[in-house]
């Protein structure tokens, strides 16, 4: 018996049991046609559908993850925001032991926040994120955050989304290129569901993970983020993460007050970054057996602080909400910010799995509120409330610490549902970002991966790298241009009168088309060597071309691929392609690159 031809299934009207031409057979035909197009390995439609499926999976996973964290907290610490001192002291410390065992023996990839691990997967393992990472992240993070470690659920959600996407991609035998792309798609879905903020998630993945606005990836990332958020909202409701009292900027002069917040936020973010950067290698250099004790020791320290200030434990969303309603005085806010920096650093350095996003928002809100309180003390006429400073502070610290300024601005808008403070957030975040970048060249996630011995492309460095363009290398007026009606005698006279015997000859064949003319050919035609009886024009010259048109603003890297095929390329104006701006050769390009590197 021969194998059925799967590539060409029998026509639906030939399917057994289905009457030819019936409604069922027509529906079958439509289904087969649709499915064939959908699952085609080269089909973009399939990739987009897959993005939606990944989004829904990630959304469901994040819902379960958040419930798991909450349930763990309820079981371990009780339902009050201020648990009994005994629980506060013992629970994080005791839970640190199983966390360490799980992270060391069962799920070693679950360690850390998850962002740099996802980046590593994208750039080193072709988007491969083992599925046990998803399970490990789920269990260990639920235990760590639920028991009071000062970490958040967002970065782990990002990694879980990437893991789900990766396994789906592998099972569907996607191409290598698609597999690399699918992990960021899942990452965006996971982060969007965790934050209930699809725009910020898309921006973060583009700003921090893939670094480019590739059209191919963008559609899938957006679809995955939206579908995951819709799924999450289906189960947990559509309310934004925080409820912010209405506020607006009444006096533009108050932007100065937010600029001060930017400076303070930038300095605190820098200090936190420097501390993590300096302490992590020392912790990693400790004997391996100490790794079993570090999460427990971190839990004990955090629990000790939590006896007096339980607000620093866990992700701290209800506390941020209270700060946004101005429930704390400025010195309390400052104490909470400093303690949270300490608690988050200790938790993170101990190797306990969990994210940095929520603590970053917490620290920013407290710091913002404290700065606002102090400014109010000295300038009682300020119309902005402490709560608005807390809101702006979230974005400020986020931009300074995680170095994703665009995400920071949109995230504040999305998590608060409040657009009125976008200008102060932009100013404050930018200042914090600039301060942090000025004194700490390598951003947090790049620093962590480099400390682990892996050098990933730095998105920030790539973003800020000086891009050489054609204009930087071209030579203006370095060619002789010929027009088709010009007599070859006149052209030869001009060429021979020119001082430079090597200047290239370019024929403006017609609008927007340039061709390369050989000097000998011109000379041959002009001296009647061709044997023509009528006067010849430049149009009769045999030439090479058409030459690729390049423009002054084009990247030199892009132009490089044509430069080896032609001795010289015409650089023309975008407004009028028949106007020559200059010429460019391979030697010019290499010279520009060499000069730039030397500088």
């Amino acid at each position: 018996m021969s194998r059925p031809d799967l590539a060409n299934p029998p026509a639906p009207d030939a399917l057994p049991g289905i009457e030819s031409g019936s409604v069922l057979s027509r529906m079958g035909a439509v289904y087969h046609g649709w499915m064939r197009r959908l699952v085609s390995p080269r089909g973009d439609q399939f990739f987009l559908v897959l993005a939606v499926v990944i989004g829904v999976f990630s959304g469901l996973a994040v819902v379960c993850f958040r419930i798991a964290i909450e349930w763990t907290r309820l079981v371990l610490l009780g339902s009050s925001l201020t648990p009994s001192p005994l629980r506060v002291l013992l629970v994080p410390a005791l839970c640190g032991i199983p966390i360490a065992l799980l992270v060391i023996h069962a799920f070693p990839r679950a360690r850390g926040s998850g962002v740099n691990q996802t980046k590593t997967a994208v750039y080193i393992s072709n988007g491969y994120v083992p599925f046990d990472t998803v399970i490990g992240k789920f269990i260990t993070c639920a235990l760590a955050i639920g028991s009071g470690q000062s970490l958040g659920p967002e970065d782990p959600s990002l990694q879980m989304g990437a893991g789900i996407a990766s396994i789906l991609g592998r099972r569907l035998k996607l191409s290598q290129e698609r597999l690399r792309l699918i992990a960021p798609v899942g990452a965006a879905a996971g982060l969007a569901a965790a934050f209930n903020a699809p725009v910020s998630a898309v921006l973060f993945v583009i700003e921090e993970v893939i670094g480019t606005w590739s059209a191919g990836a963008l559609g899938a990332i957006v679809l995955a983020a939206v579908s995951s958020v819709v799924t999450m909202r289906w189960f947990l409701g559509s309310e934004s993460l925080f409820r912010v009292p209405p506020s607006q900027l009444n006096d533009p002069a108050e932007l100065l007050a937010y600029a001060v917040l930017g400076v303070v936020g930038g300095c605190f973010a820098l200090a936190f970054l420097k501390w993590i950067g300096a302490a992590r290698p020392k912790i990693q250099a400790l004997p391996k057996r100490t790794m079993y004790l570090l999460p427990a020791a971190a839990g004990l320290l955090i629990g000790t602080a939590g006896i007096w200030l339980p607000q620093v434990m866990g992700a701290g969303y209800p506390i941020i909400d209270q700060a946004l309603h101005g429930e704390y005085v400025w010195h309390m806010l400052l104490i909470l910010a400093i303690l949270k920096i300490a608690a988050t650093g200790i938790s993170f350095l101990s190797g306990a799995p969990g994210g940095m996003f929520a603590p970053t928002l917490f620290i920013g809100a407290m710091l913002g509120g404290a700065v606002g309180g102090v400014e109010h003390h000295f300038f009682p006429g300020l119309t902005s409330t402490t709560a608005t400073f807390a809101l702006v502070g979230m974005g400020t610290f986020f931009a300074g610490f995680l170095r994703t300024p665009i995400t920071a601005v949109f995230m504040v808008v999305e998590v608060s549902g409040n657009y009125s403070m976008i200008v102060p957030v932009m100013i404050s975040s930018l200042i914090a970002y600039l301060i942090s970048r000025r004194f700490q060249k390598v951003p947090l996630f790049d620093l962590l991966t480099r400390q682990d011995g892996v050098v990933l492309p730095s998105i920030e460095e790539r973003r800020e790298r000086v891009r050489l363009v054609v204009e930087d290398a071209m030579r203006a007026g370095a060619a002789i241009t010929l027009d088709p009606p010009e007599s070859v005698f006149e052209a030869l006279r001009r060429v021979e009168a020119d001082a430079d015997p090597n200047r290239p000859l370019l024929l403006r064949a017609r609008a927007g088309e340039w061709r390369l003319v050989d000097r000998d050919e011109l000379r041959r035609l002009a001296t009647h060597e061709s044997g023509a009886s009528v006067p010849q024009t430049a149009a009769d010259l045999s030439s090479k071309g058409p030459l690729p048109l390049i423009f002054p603003d084009e990247s030199l890297e892009e132009v490089l691929r044509w430069a080896s095929d032609w001795p010289v390329l015409p650089v023309v104006s975008r407004a009028d392609p028949s106007r020559l701006e200059g010429v460019l050769s391979l030697a010019d390009i290499l010279h520009a690159f060499r000069t730039s590197a030397a500088e």
């Binding site: 909450e70 099972r171 189960f235 409820r243 909400d321």
Partner: protein, 387 residues
């Protein structure tokens, strides 16, 4: 042959992809069901916890422990963060615990979601009162009065306006309060005794005696024995210098109310005024003359005592001797004068009495005897009338 093999390979890959996609969709459906089940359990638990903490908060707040209530409400809100009722109660607890700014934050947030809500506006007005911000208080009180209420809007608006009136009176702004009190009285239902009494009392506070009397009489029409309405009506009549009517209302009061300091003082004064006022209509000439004589004798005795220092407060000045001299002169003149001339001197003699009473009050404080108080009131009424 090779083409066939490649075709087979592609087809098998597509078939495999279809199977994986179908399995993924089945898994997705299963996961959806599991998540729905888990999230339902979770939501139920969370709502139970939220309700429990909310109930704890309510009982703490009602038993006068707003600080304890705060912690409970915060715990409740941690489980149901978007719950507006919880937020409103937390704001009330914050305000009760003296955290007006924090309470305002929550209330403004709630107000942005439902800007015309009367209850939230009223709570904001109370917070503004606490923060001593009069413009905000007035704005929110008015928004509460004209805002939307879920239950019994007329009564709620009436209560909000009453609170505004009391706030304005408390701020010492009776002229601002007057228009609000009149509006309140106009909107007071005619069958609610307590509301009529409240409106009447506020009208008394801004000296609108006749309108106040009207409110109390309406209340008495519903319940003719209501002690607050009787007190209010008596007070209004007393202020209108209709002492017999005032006394009549006071006398209808039960003994325990009648013996209260204010009522008993007014009743005694009203009775004294009834017996000594020579300007009351229907009195004979002889009776009028006798009343003037009694008034002169009484004021002369009061002023003499005061001059001798028996009742003068330490450090107080001597009463003006001219007043005492004028009274004595009037007494001696009246002894010699016939009845017709006495009738002609009625106004001037009572003016002398009034001056003497004022002099005594300046030097020796408010009079204690009902007759002296009555004589002062009679003089006040005459002075007011002549002005």
């Amino acid at each position: 042959m090779n083409m066939h093999a490649a075709k087979d390979k592609r087809a098998s890959a597509r078939h495999g992809r279809e199977a994986v996609l179908a399995s993924a969709l089945v898994l997705l459906a299963l996961m959806f069901v599991v998540t729905a089940f888990v999230s339902r359990l979770y939501k139920k638990r969370v709502h139970e916890l939220g309700d429990r903490w909310f109930a704890n908060g309510d009982s703490a707040l009602h038993s006068g422990h707003p600080t304890a209530a705060l912690a409970d409400y915060r715990n409740g809100l941690a489980y149901v963060p978007g719950n507006e009722v919880f937020q409103f109660h937390l704001a009330q607890a914050l305000a009760a615990a003296g955290h007006a700014d924090e309470a305002e934050g929550y209330l403004l947030n709630l107000l942005s979601a439902s800007p015309g809500n009367g209850e939230i506006n009223l709570a904001l007005a109370r917070v503004a009162v606490q923060k001593k911000s009069e413009p905000d208080a007035l704005r929110y009180y008015h928004a509460a009065i004209y805002g939307g209420w879920d239950e019994d809007p007329i009564a709620q608006r009436w209560r909000a306006r009453r609170e505004l009136c009391e706030y304005l009176l408390g701020r010492g702004a009776p002229s601002q309060a007057e228009s609000e009190i009149i509006a309140l009285a106009d909107n007071t239902p005619g069958n609610d005794v307590s509301q009529l009494n409240a409106a009447g009392n506020l009208l008394l506070d801004v000296s609108l005696w006749s309108r106040a009397l009207g409110e109390f009489k309406s209340a008495l029409a519903v319940d003719r024995h209501d002690p607050e309405a009787l007190t209010g009506a008596g007070t209004a009549e007393f202020r209108l210098a209709r002492y017999s009517e005032a006394a009549a209302f006071f006398e209808r009061l039960p003994e325990n109310r009648r013996s209260s300091e204010t009522v008993s003082e007014m009743l005694a004064t009203a009775r004294a005024a009834e017996s000594i006022d020579p300007f009351l209509p229907g009195l004979s000439a002889a009776e009028k003359s006798a009343r003037v004589d009694r008034a002169l004798a009484d004021s002369e005795a009061l002023l003499s005592n005061c001059t001798q220092g028996a009742s003068r407060s330490p450090g107080a000045q001597q009463p003006n001797p001219d007043s005492l001299a004028a009274v004595r002169k009037a007494i001696s003149d009246r002894k010699r004068a016939p009845v017709e001339r006495k009738m002609g001197r009625l106004d001037s003699d009572m003016a002398a009495v009034y001056q003497a009473e004022i002099a005594a009050r300046s030097a020796c404080g408010s009079p204690k005897s009902p007759t002296a108080r009555a004589l002062l009131l009679i003089g006040d009424a005459r002075a007011g009338g002549s002005q």
